[in-house]
Symmetry: C2
Subunit: 467 residues, 2 copies
Amino acid sequence: MTRCWELCVLLALVPTSALSQSAKQNSDLIISGGTLVTMDARRAVIEDGGIAVVGDSIAAVGTRSEVEANYQARHTIRAQGKLVLPGFVNGHTHVPMTLFRGLHDDVTLEDWLTKYIFPAEAKNVDENFVRWGTRLAAAEQIRSGVTTFADMYYFEDALAEETKAAGLRGVLGETWIDFPAPDNKTSTARSDYTERFLKRWRGDRLIHAAVAPHSIYACKRKTLEDAATLARKYHAPILIHLAEMKKEWDDSEKENGATPVEYLDKLGVLGKDVVAAHCIFIAEQDQRILATRSVGCVHNPSSNMMLASGVSPVAAMRSLGIGVGLGTDGPAGSNNDLDLMEEMDLAAKLAKITKMDPRALNAQAVVEMATIDGARALHMENEIGSIEKGKKADLILIGLDRPNAVPMYDIYAQLAYALKASDVATVLIAGQVVMRDHQLLTVDEDRAIAKAKEYQEKISRSLGLAR
Amino acid sequence: MTRCWELCVLLALVPTSALSQSAKQNSDLIISGGTLVTMDARRAVIEDGGIAVVGDSIAAVGTRSEVEANYQARHTIRAQGKLVLPGFVNGHTHVPMTLFRGLHDDVTLEDWLTKYIFPAEAKNVDENFVRWGTRLAAAEQIRSGVTTFADMYYFEDALAEETKAAGLRGVLGETWIDFPAPDNKTSTARSDYTERFLKRWRGDRLIHAAVAPHSIYACKRKTLEDAATLARKYHAPILIHLAEMKKEWDDSEKENGATPVEYLDKLGVLGKDVVAAHCIFIAEQDQRILATRSVGCVHNPSSNMMLASGVSPVAAMRSLGIGVGLGTDGPAGSNNDLDLMEEMDLAAKLAKITKMDPRALNAQAVVEMATIDGARALHMENEIGSIEKGKKADLILIGLDRPNAVPMYDIYAQLAYALKASDVATVLIAGQVVMRDHQLLTVDEDRAIAKAKEYQEKISRSLGLAR
């Protein structure tokens, strides 16, 4: 009996298993279970979902049983009891400034720049500063579920190396500004550096090298035009601060007889490769220009509040079809963290209080801004921003096992208003697991933190600050 | 030689040790090391600090070496590399509403109340609901460093039992409202219930029973007066929503010929036992009345933004000497969490953008509002709110070992803008350790979370909601 039973089991199991194995397609990884918040065109939410990953991309999305019926994988990540989302997109930041986090807040932007940050940068920013600041920021961003970020700083080539080493996706713009920058002291040096930078990263799987003319107030006309020309030669994105300050608007009206948006449009800078950060002082005709030119916009609620800059007309821009993402801005003076989940919360709440209408911008809208609309703002919506077959496997798993996570009547409300960066458990970028169950795998976090403390001492000394 | 050396060591050590032991005073617990952010009158910050705790109180504060020279303890908590603060004070909330978290956000207050929350409360709020909601909220509040909270809800006696069981300090107000409440259906039942409640908790070490007439728009004149009279008979605090809505102001002007503050003052309700939540529609003469009457005020930035209520003139009230604390408000419809650290961040940023001045309310001010001024708002500044000898040992240890925590140039800026609830590692209330290294000790968190999920199903069914 026993032998017969064993034989029956063997007969029953082995061929079936072999058959189902052979009928299944191979994948590198399956995310099994969990609630998929796809952010696809239908905003489909799939309970007990499954995602098959092949290489750096999503090969299949569906229910767990559908996906597991068709795919086998060497590795499985169990997502039961978790939300699975496309990774968050931080559309505007200056990551090395982590090392200046909290250096003189609560002062006017002018005082902050001229008395504190410009001197601090002149004395401290070099390639190593950029590397360590980027590494620390990479840890912080991954921990909060950011899988793609757009940056404007100096030594952007070193920043790109660190970003790639951390496994993060980056749209990284070398800053052009009309005073001697920490890296390039002349316009020729800057052009040469930027062109080498653009050439080097062409076709990279994670890094999109970009050109970042700072703003209309910090760049002469020729700088703006040259930056755009160089970017377009290499089909690279153009990152710029736009209409952030009242003074910028007033000066532009006076000097150019045009709004900041109109002025940039006249120069031929605006186009579907431009990512404009802030977009606060934006008239109705400006909104139409941004929509017509397919410019991506990035709203930075924390920074705009912290610096008292003003409030971007986000809902109006969205209603014109403009891709409006979310950004943390730099983590010094204007935030002071890199937590995109807080920007979701703030974006909704800021719009409501500004319009004195709790319906002004809802939870789903800000989750869109952090994902698919953030991707649109960076002109990367065909690559990232939603969980869909063919898109990059940039995926985050958010736990629901803390008191702040329950109960959950509405997934979008939970994401916008109740869940925290600390609930992000697991992060994949381009199919690579960069954080698993809160453990970072691609950044030596302890070393980055220790180095940040060293920089704190060095920077404090350089500015004559006592602790 | 060996023996001689051993003898010398014995001679050198034993008597000294014995001597120093005998010279030292006994304490129950020493917090050893760490940076003490005392929030005392001098706002002293003590590096490598020490705190001796005897019973439920602080017996000594100083440097580690000073305290350890004078005190011995059975238990030591090592705080090296951490910030040590007085526990945060959540000055206004409705904790059982955790169980309604995220139930229909992004709608007007009127719709939210009449279409969603009142029906949901009528169908679901009973004593068990209050118990489980309070338990879940206790876990969430302790995790974010809250050691004292002020609450207004129903079945407040059950809420008090749960609060005490969690080891939290609470100012707990039984709500008086002029329609049949979930607990007491008549004004007589309400008076009787509240009087029993006030008597029961007199002299309790953690629970301050209070009376909470809801507001001038939800309570008739007699209700307000009776509530105040009963509270004063037992020297209990009076908690009230005040000047939260424009309509409240308009109606009061029309019906009472007075602002909401003037009206309450005329009724004799205002005094140094009153805690007024919101205080948004507050004229200059109202501010003077609040200051003269020593009313405590509680600012709820998240709620005021979420519901588009308006912005409280916090800086002006502070400059008149009013004790202005911070509150999360209820975690449904108006926040949706109980994270007081986010309220610090929001309070500063909201004041800045409202005044279009980044100096409007600074980091130190919002840390004060979360600690010593929160204590003043609750009229408990002699008991809690700072780390000082004789005050209650309500203490929190905040880790600095995450990427968002470094570098740190300014402790107050770090607390207000960069550190998160998830950085709170250890919490003591009245000398009892309620969370140690992120592990809750007084609440069965898993059970509270499981129960919240059960309530989610039950409440969804009661409202005919599909998931």
